[in-house]
Amino acid sequence: MSERRDRMLWRRMDWVLFAVMVALAVASVAFIFSASYRGPGQPMPLFYRQQLIWFVAGLALYLVVMVVDYRLICQWATVWYALAVVALVLVLVFGVKVYGARRWLGWGRFGIQPAEMAKLAVIVTLAYYLFHRTPDQRRHWSTIAGAWMWTGVPFVLILVEPDLGSAFTLVPIVFGMLFLAGARVKQLALAGLLGLCLTPVAWWHMKAYQRERLTVFLNPNRDPLGAGWNLNQSLIAVGSGGLTGKGFLQGTQNSLGYLPRTVAPNDFLFSVIAEEKGFVGSACVVGLYAVLLARGLRIAASARDRLGLLLATGIVVMLMVHVFVNIGMTIGLMPVTGLPLPLLSYGGSFVLASMTALGLLQNIWIHRRHY
């Protein structure tokens, strides 16, 4: 019985989705290597090895999440939600301060960012919450309010870390899931407007560096040697890559340190790829994400139930927000926020979160409805 189920599982998997994930992971390790490369024989940080370890750990998590039925996972939603909130509280109390923000919960050498995990917890919780509302309730104001109540707690906790980028990622996720849950567009628009009215309050509460980043985004040449530096250097890296790029390990922007070494492997890894592989490479990366997201939408469409649909939608929206904001940031379309690029950017927390999310997508696909 169990043997047959396993065989079925392998056969029912979305191998294209898996292949895209592996491709992005390979590119990640390769370009993190390039981003820390300092020339032949020069000592270099071993980020790429660390990232490889994260991928191996992530793969284990991926398999576990893939195999256990998502309906079972979602039944535990309150537990995941509680764990996430506790972690977010802990990080505010015991968190390690890096560049003025408490985002890291550390055990010795290892550290995780609870905010990345919290995004998944919110998706699972919302999916479960919306799934249990009746169709009539879903068209009602109370559902929007309820969804926002669930999201509000982690949203505020993440906001005060402060991690503006991660906090605001939750907004499109909630709206996306509400939209798919069948909420009225008029109501969603009104809710959005209400949120927009709160923006001045947010601006007033922002730290100086956050305001600086936003003004720089609006005018990158205002202070090219100061806050605009990263954006300008990233633009130069991407643009000077040209059509075909300078070649692997040949990028000068990161190896010489114009693109600061602290951000090249994580937030600005896309700039490294774009410089070394040119438009061909960067368009391929966007293409890989396009395949990934299209697969995600297909999975949502073929989900066995509304729970799977909502879960898949939340995951797709989350990945899309990260992809758009991160790549948009490297080419000046978006402000510099520090949202990592799924599967590519260096960093354990989001690698694990992304692979868990992809595991969930596989899960929904495997348990899709039968025709």
Partner: protein, 611 residues
């Protein structure tokens, strides 16, 4: 089961996602394909630096290949500021000065770099070496290697410096070099870091600057955001300047300079003057010297500036090449020309005699002969031999001024010679027309008389008079004097070679008579130039003494320009020369012995002449 409404909404979500991805693709296409060049050039502008490598200057050699100007290595201690700083926040001046303090202590040598110099260097030319000490003597080099070489960011480098191995020898002709003042507009744009070229400032160094300079090379380096060089992208070596061969003969040059330095000047007279030796067969300048002189090595970088300032303030103008740049009344050395003019005019015959009583009344003025007692009855030959002024007064007036001026111009006076070894002055041949314009006065017979003996308004340069001597020597060919014989590239490929150039030929049946008369000037016991006689060598010449009023500290002083022109050997002249002293006793007393000594040394007849 999923309702069709959800499917519809999923499609809308898919549409939004597709739209977002399209935006990314298009933005990337715009940046990486359409605007790639803009960002590429920005990338290069911030990370690539071009360093101009100044070429090393070509050698200047004499006709036999003896080096007159070359480059020698100057061993300089330098500091690389870009290697010093490890973080952007460190203050470069504090860092450098603490580093230099260690260096100064180890080397036991004071460092004179100012804060401004260090900061300026850091801002403008960070990857280039900052010179701490120039031109270290060998023992200090050894001390550096022993004690300071292992200090970080410090190095001992060799830079080429112009060197004149013979010191002041032919200084005026060779000239000197200095740093180019302003980089050319085009260069300043091309090269982010400009290293100043050495450029010729005077003499051959200046006139041949383009050939000597060579072509600059360049290095393209990559720098990191703090301006530190991280690698070389391109390298083009500088091309060495061409080798310039002069017509100068170092031996003759040394003889001439030595003779000038030993001129028999009376007490109180300053040694100011010049000498030019030409080959009358082609116009080659064999030697050219001017006094007072200077040492061109003084102008190399790192030389004490106060010595240069002293040189520039010197009232004797030691930098002036008097051989080409000073003009003097020729006095009686002009008489060969005026005699030729008289005879050619047909109004004066060789046998015409004049009774010289020591002076001649012209109009209401008395014009004296230099020999106050008078020469008695003299003909043309005697007048030349003893330089009788009265004969020339009378015959000059008879011959008419226009003929004399015409002949002077025929011999190249009053115009630049076209010499290729530095700037020159044209001198002056006056005419009645010229006088009317400049003095508003008519030309008097007295003016003609003055001009006939080479005084009055007439002005000539020593080089012009050497050319006159050469033309008289070779039977009437006026050559263009030149000093540049050949230009070759550093590896010996011929670039250009100078051919002798005939300016004009003076055809005159009376030339031989003038030459004979000049021979008598030296060989006759009562000839005014007998002090130039050299045993075993037939020397022809003419003395000249021109009285001139000069201003010294506001007071007018009368000095005598002492001239001598000569050529030898008489039958087939190989050498023609002109010598002048600004403050002499007279051509025969001061200049003739110097000329004789020069000729004696050139032809190896030193014994029996001079000291």
């Amino acid at each position: 089961m999923i309702a069709s409404d959800a499917m519809f909404r999923l499609r809308i979500l898919g549409g939004i996602i597709t739209g977002g991805l399209m935006v990314l693709w298009l933005a990337l296409f715009r940046i990486q394909v359409l605007n790639a060049e803009v960002y590429g050039s920005r990338e290069q502008a911030q990370s690539l630096r071009r360093i101009r490598l100044p070429p090393s200057r070509g050698d200047i050699v004499d006709r036999h290949g003896v080096v007159l100007a070359q480059n020698r290595p100057s061993y300089d201690v330098v500091l690389y500021l870009d290697q010093l700083r490890s973080s952007k926040r460190q203050d470069i001046y504090r860092l450098a000065s603490s580093h230099l303090a260690v260096l100064a202590e180890v080397m036991n040598r004071p460092v004179t770099l100012t804060e401004r110099e260090i900061r300026l260097h850091d801002q403008r030319r960070r990857p280039l070496p900052l010179t701490v000490w120039r031109n270290l003597p060998p023992p200090t080099q050894a001390a550096f290697a022993e004690r300071a070489a292992q200090l970080p960011a410090v190095d001992l480098i060799a830079t080429p410096v112009r060197h004149y191995p013979h010191g002041a020898l032919a200084a005026h002709l060779l000239g000197f070099v200095g740093q180019a003042e302003q980089p050319d507009e085009a260069d300043a744009e091309d090269y982010y870091y400009h290293q100043a070229d050495t450029v010729g400032k005077q003499g051959i160094e200046k006139t041949c600057d383009e050939a000597l300079r060579g072509a600059p090379g360049g290095r393209t380096i990559r720098v990191n955001p703090s301006g530190r060089c991280v690698g070389e992208v391109g390298y083009k070596p500088a091309e060495r300047g061409d080798r310039v061969t002069l017509t100068i003969d170092v031996n003759i040059q040394r003889i001439v300079e030595n003779a000038l330095d030993h001129a028999p000047l009376s007490g109180g007279a300053e040694l100011r003057g010049a000498a030019v030796v030409l080959d009358p067969r082609n116009g080659e300048v064999l030697a050219m010297a001017s006094r007072p002189t200077f040492n061109p090595n003084l102008f190399t970088p790192g030389a004490p500036p106060e010595e240069v300032a002293l040189l520039l303030r010197n009232p004797g103008s030691p930098l002036l090449n008097r051989a080409t740049g000073a003009r003097y009344a020729p006095g009686s050395i002009f008489k060969p020309i005026s005699l030729l003019a008289m005879l050619e005019s047909g109004r004066v015959k060789v046998g015409d005699t004049v009774d010289c009583r020591g002076s001649l009344q012209i109009g209401n003025r008395s014009f004296g002969c230099w020999h106050r007692q008078g020469h008695g009855r003299v003909d043309a030959l005697a007048a030349m031999r003893q330089s009788c002024d009265v004969w020339f007064y009378e015959k000059g007036i008879a011959a008419k001024v226009d003929n004399i001026a015409q002949m002077a111009i025929e011999f190249g006076l009053g115009q630049p010679t076209g010499f290729d070894g530095g700037s020159e002055t044209a001198g002056l041949v006056p005419t009645p027309g010229w006088k009317r314009i400049h003095y508003g006065d008519r030309w008097w017979d007295g003016d003609t008389a003055q001009m006939a003996i080479g005084q009055g308004f007439l002005l000539t340069t020593p080089l012009q008079m050497a050319c006159v001597a050469a033309a008289l020597a070779n039977g009437g060919t006026l050559w263009r004097p030149f000093v540049l014989r050949r230009i070759e590239t550093a590896d010996g490929t011929l670039v250009s070679e100078r051919k002798p150039e005939r300016r004009r030929t003076i055809f005159s049946s009376h030339l031989e008579f003038v030459r004979q008369a000049m021979l008598e000037v030296v060989e006759a016991p009562n000839g005014t130039g007998h002090r130039a006689a050299v045993p075993g060598l037939r020397v022809a010449g003419k003395t000249g003494t021109a009285e001139t009023d000069i201003r010294v500290d506001g007071a007018v002083r009368r000095v005598k320009r002492a001239w001598f022109i000569a050529f030898a050997p008489f039958e087939a002249p190989q050498v023609a020369l002109a010598v002048v002293f600004e403050q002499g006793e007279g051509g025969g007393h001061t200049a003739a012995p110097v000329a004789g000594r020069i000729l004696a040394d050139i032809f190896g007849r030193r014994e029996g002449h001079g000291r």
